[in-house]
Symmetry: D2
Subunit: 348 residues, 4 copies
């Protein structure tokens, strides 16, 4: 039995959709900080995903965040807004829960893993330091920002094989990344916006360095790679795209880059997990791919698509990477994180 | 009296719209290589711009490209498709005409100016070498690709003041840049395409270097700056946006960069020309501008908008530049070029 | 000198844009019920129209609605939200002002004209009854809902010539009709919504009947025509389209219908008014017009476009009508109303 | 083993996607009239659906339409363009094949069923008359136009229960309905088009009358109901929406209308067929549904969604109906037709 914090928001809805029929996690609690607490979830939520809210979730009564974890429930997904996630997630962890969070608040904490299971599962060892700090079984594990996961996934195999020194990133991000109601239609019809609030560019410039960095008893050591990000909101419903120009430490042919990406696999512990995409990276040969609408659902929305691998007149290699921002970039990422935590015996 | 080659296409239509009521150029000839030659322009054209075709143009009979210039007409705008522009423009120049072209075919020719009047009006001296070669008064002058003009305009003041060494460019380009019918709606609804055919990235990597290079009796010498471009088609009707990360030769503060851009002015010869924007660059202070729909029409679609001037973790400065791709980036650019040619006495 | 109530909203911004450089009305007051009262308009407003706020307006200090009219100003445009328009407009009228309103609150009042100048300028006589009621010079004049004006304009010449008995209307309405932020981009990308709140269908079913009805000393008598409306929000920025199936009282050929529409003219008093479109109705012959993006700006956004005139298997005639919803359907309508009031000597 | 005629087009691709893994029909032949005949399907097709072409189909060699049916294959789906479908389908039927067609050519033929399995499965008896005419086992069965199926499905239960006399239909139709490349992005960004070529309105006015009519030994007798249709193309990728105003023969309360729609079931023979939606009609209670993006995939894209059931000021009842135009409206309709033909023993 698991619970969802922030269950009525855009990411919370996606979590509940993905948990419907999940073979290992049964939804037993829906929590929010909104006004509609006390109502049945199906009535309280303004469901924005295709179809309607799953029947199993619809009947649960929405509880208030301040009530803390439900008796007997020790695993909570968090899709809380960053205005409340900081304290609330800490409170649930202090109460002994595993908090598997999509929120940004604790991502850069010195003992909180910023987990991409295919890339840095060894960072989970930081949970031990959290447990010491809290003197209890609870902990927080986070997944990266929705505009970061495909950047980190595409860089990981190249960093391992050749070393990544510098990366210029330009993103084209979907409307769903802003939550609901998020961006006004008035601003996105026949338009793009070269700006995303909440420090989006800073996240892309810092989170991959933690993900691709090392972790040992002394804590996390960020990768020294340099990243420059320029972000744009575009009239797409789902799917964040990033164009990368990468300078490597060691020379690599395009064929070597291609092979590193298409041959990339996560650790053995991921095999057979319900949400783990196999392979994690789809390398597309067509000259005009990946495209959000055509490629966001690869691997049930959990795979990263990479294309347009070609030389760069300034750096070494250019490519385009894409992931589904509310699945691989948010709700699905948290669920895969929890599946790995479960498989490795971390869940309380 | 002037004529338009390729009068029925997307850029040709925009030329004809802009020439309607123009104080110096009266439209007297419409030419195409299409099937509908011999019909009245108003019937032959599938007009795609708001309203309808101007009455003055609608009554002109569409002539065939192979017939050459109309008796007595010596100035032709060219919006020809690149499949026919190469030979046809040369033929019109050989016949003594000034050909003011938006087509790509002759842009990189060693004696053809690739003109941005605010930036490199001194390149017009190359016309003398053309006239020698052809032993006649005719010549070709070109304007850059629609995705290049705002890049070149934004770089020009920075290159003059501080020297530009390297530029990473990521573009978000409008559907009208592909002509009509161009991109299928099927491909652009809820989608972006990280690719534009016809060597779009190569144009962005080479054309600004000619524009910002020197010209003397020996010919053109391209600027040594390095440019890396990644292009994307987005669901916007008009307005190409480019995000730039720039490495300068000399250090500059953001205030100096801001001042160089907002203080930029073209040569005195441009003052008072009907299509010359004043100022040529609008520097926008808002954190989320420029945006295509809100800023493409600044200066009647002839001004370039620049915003988000900020430091770069890798290069020196980042900014976003925008122009109206079928006005400043195509039809309007050609008309401004012709206005300068007229003012400086180059027109036959 | 005139003022604008609700100056920061979507329609208020459009009013201020249209008043910039207006030959008869100079903007002297900007009023709102928002938090930013006391700031300069240019800082207080989140300007959503292309370019930026007009310089003349930008420097005015935003005043609070509760302060009432500015000393010496007796003409106010109202773009107030309906939650406050009812009382505020009444208060300004009671204070002696002409209130030229776009808000819905007083449209159906028994002594308030619901004015479409080309159609029912004689309804202005109702102002006399208002003045009696208030024992003062102030009054309220309204324009119809943005989805009504092109329906009423298209029906008017047919009702005069042949009598209109029944009308089925289906609308496709632009995002700007919902104000800002209005509809979420999440709801309109790759989607349409078959619903518009605030009684949109009821307005289409009742307002044209008042507009096309009679007015005499006893008050307004609504036209007995029956109207059934079905509304849809579509991903268009500006321009409301309506498909009509009309049953007439007298038989009419399609040619007669065409002539009635294209020959329609407003009263002589409209000639030469700055915002009066001439002709008021553009009848388009192409089989696929009018279209919002191509036709909304006809007559500077003040003309109504009609096309696809053809027989109906159930009623007598079908056609499609379009107008620019924030110009002809809102801000421009109010300004044209004020121009007529001015020309006819009604303004205090 | 089945084949697909017109396998590379938009509907053909959808058929091949739906046949991938189908429990009863294995794809064994792909046929086209295009240039790429002889190539492997995976190379010949410009696949426009998410992901890529199914592996099973990708390896089949594309055959030319003129070669006729493959030895041993007697069931063909047809997604042929109407320019070639007429003769080709007749030829395949004459060769002894069951041709299950989405093309319009034979829909109104006097012995060809226009089949909506939930509505008029008894029309299959007309196959007997076809077999007599051809003196062979082959026959043609068609499904309605993509803008017709949800209209016919929504009218069927009301016609049975109360009789339908008159229907006004206004449609908002998706871009995919025009095939690929179909409509230009230039025409659909920030725009709608109040016109669809190929007689779309006539199809909506005639096909439901055949579907809802009777069939006996003398042939088909169309329903006498009157239908008036006004069509619009909107910037939606998939999902056709229709707003209906219906005049009934007998009075019915809204509750009765609701019950007739939600209680509607197809014949027993449909139970358990792989593509048969259960229930066929989803009646949605929310005031703003159905919406294309949220509801088109109900019942795996095979269910019709109906909402906004409310009275009409002119007719008796208004409602909005939606279906997925390339699944329920085209490829999926043909496959369900074939499943019923198979279940009832009609396939050769």
């Amino acid at each position: 039995m698991v619970g969802v914090l922030g269950a009525t928001g855009a990411v919370g809805q996606r979590m509940i959709a993905l948990l419907d029929g999940h073979p290992r996690f049964e939804l037993g609690d829906v929590v929010a900080s909104a006004k509609r607490v006390g109502q049945a979830y199906g009535e309280a939520v303004a469901w924005r995903l295709p179809g309607g809210a799953p029947a199993g979730a619809a009947g649960l009564l929405l509880r208030d965040l301040s009530e803390g974890p439900l008796e007997g429930l020790t695993t909570y997904f968090s899709a809380l807004d960053s205005s409340v996630a900081g304290e609330a997630e800490e409170a649930f962890a202090a109460a002994g829960c595993a908090v598997v969070s999509n929120s940004r608040n604790h991502r850069m904490d010195p003992d909180v893993p910023l987990l991409v299971p295919e890339v840095n599962s060894e960072h989970l060892e930081a949970i031990g330091r959290q447990r010491q700090r809290r003197a209890g079984p609870g902990f927080i594990v986070t997944n990266p920002n929705c505009s970061v996961v495909h950047v980190a996934m595409a860089l990981a195999p190249l960093d391992r094989a050749f070393g990544v020194e510098r990366v210029h990133v330009a993103t084209l991000q979907a409307a769903s990344g802003a939550g609901y109601p998020g961006v006004s239609a008035w601003d996105l019809i026949d338009n793009v916006i070269p700006f995303i609030g909440g420090g989006e560019e800073e996240k892309i410039e810092t989170e991959p360095r933690k993900i691709l960095g090392r972790h040992d008893a002394a804590g996390f050591a960020a990768s020294p790679m340099q990243i420059s990000a320029q972000v744009h909101r575009v009239p797409v419903i789902d799917g964040h795209l990033a164009a990368l120009s990468i300078t490597l430490k060691e020379r690599a042919t395009l064929a070597q880059v291609h092979d590193a990406l298409s041959g990339f696999r996560g650790p053995a512990a991921l095999r057979g997990l319900p949400s783990a995409p196999e392979p994690p990276i789809h390398v597309l040969p067509e000259p005009d791919r990946p495209q959000p609408r055509l490629d966001r659902d690869r691997g049930n929305g959990m795979a990263v698509s990479v294309g347009r691998i070609r030389p760069c007149p300034i750096g070494d290699v250019r490519l385009v990477a894409l992931s589904h921002n509310t699945i691989r970039g948010a709700a699905g990422a948290a669920i895969l994180n929890a599946e790995l935590l479960d498989a490795e015996g971390w869940l309380p």
